[in-house]
Symmetry: C2
Subunit: 153 residues, 2 copies
């Protein structure tokens, strides 16, 4: 099964968080699960905050890219279009908010689940919760904006 | 001159963003500049968002660690104590908010400037602005919390 990020056009598929063409990046993969979207990610040993716990900046990054991916997928759904149809949707982050509910243990695979809160014009608001072994450890919200043409001009 | 992060106790100096003992991490260094705090950071080529621009997750990470470092330094200042005096202050992130004002060009060194907004008990609120070549491209706020003992128990 192809992930949302597998459909990003080649010229915008280099993001450190979610670009399949960034060899050094996280290359997250996001999928639909009913009305929710899901990303699973295995942090590396160096992704430490305090020893034993995951670095909060990584969690923010995962939530960020999960939500911009969800925004794109949601727009295709809203238009009842396949993700390989044109024009392609690609979103950037207008704002990102993350609340750290409790320390996230470093070791288990993490799961981020997202839900579209609002679609309005070129803006999609997505909320996400991050889980470690089924326990919600962080919650975030992203205001995603359809990428301005000036980004690739 | 020693940075705030050079004073973090050894057992809490492994953070991917700011720990001097994390060989794979960003190892940011933050200093006072009057009432403001300053971090300068050179992104790497792989820290891409859309080609030519810096990955927003990195910017969030830099703001995050800059602000927790500022929180610690501010507490020493508030107590009129040197940063190598005990007990040591170390903060974690309760919440992080970042607004992306405009695309951040990938290439120039970035500057993050912080300012303490509030100190109340174990909580310090820090706001920060990120600049590329003197232009503010992102703005953030962190609610930093003094690290609970349970983190290192």
């Amino acid at each position: 099964m192809q992930a949302f990020q597998d459909f990003y056009p080649e010229n915008v598929a280099h993001c450190y968080g979610c670009g399949r063409l960034n060899a050094d990046g996280h290359q997250i993969k996001t999928f639909w699960d009913g009305d929710e979207t899901v990303t699973r990610f295995q942090p590396k040993p160096e992704h430490t905050a305090i020893p034993g716990f995951v670095y909060g900046g990584l969690l923010a990054s995962l939530i960020d890219c999960h939500c911009t991916g969800t925004a794109a997928a949601a727009m295709y759904r809203a238009e009842n279009r396949a993700m390989d149809s044109l024009p392609a949707f690609r979103f950037v982050t207008g704002s990102l908010q993350v609340s750290y509910l409790k320390p996230t243990p470093l070791g288990p695979q993490l799961e981020i689940r997202g839900r579209v809160k609002e679609i309005k014009g070129r803006k999609v608001v997505v909320e996400a919760t991050l889980y470690a072994e089924g326990v919600a450890t962080a919650r975030g919200e992203v205001v995603a904006l359809q990428m301005p043409d000036s980004f690739t001009a």
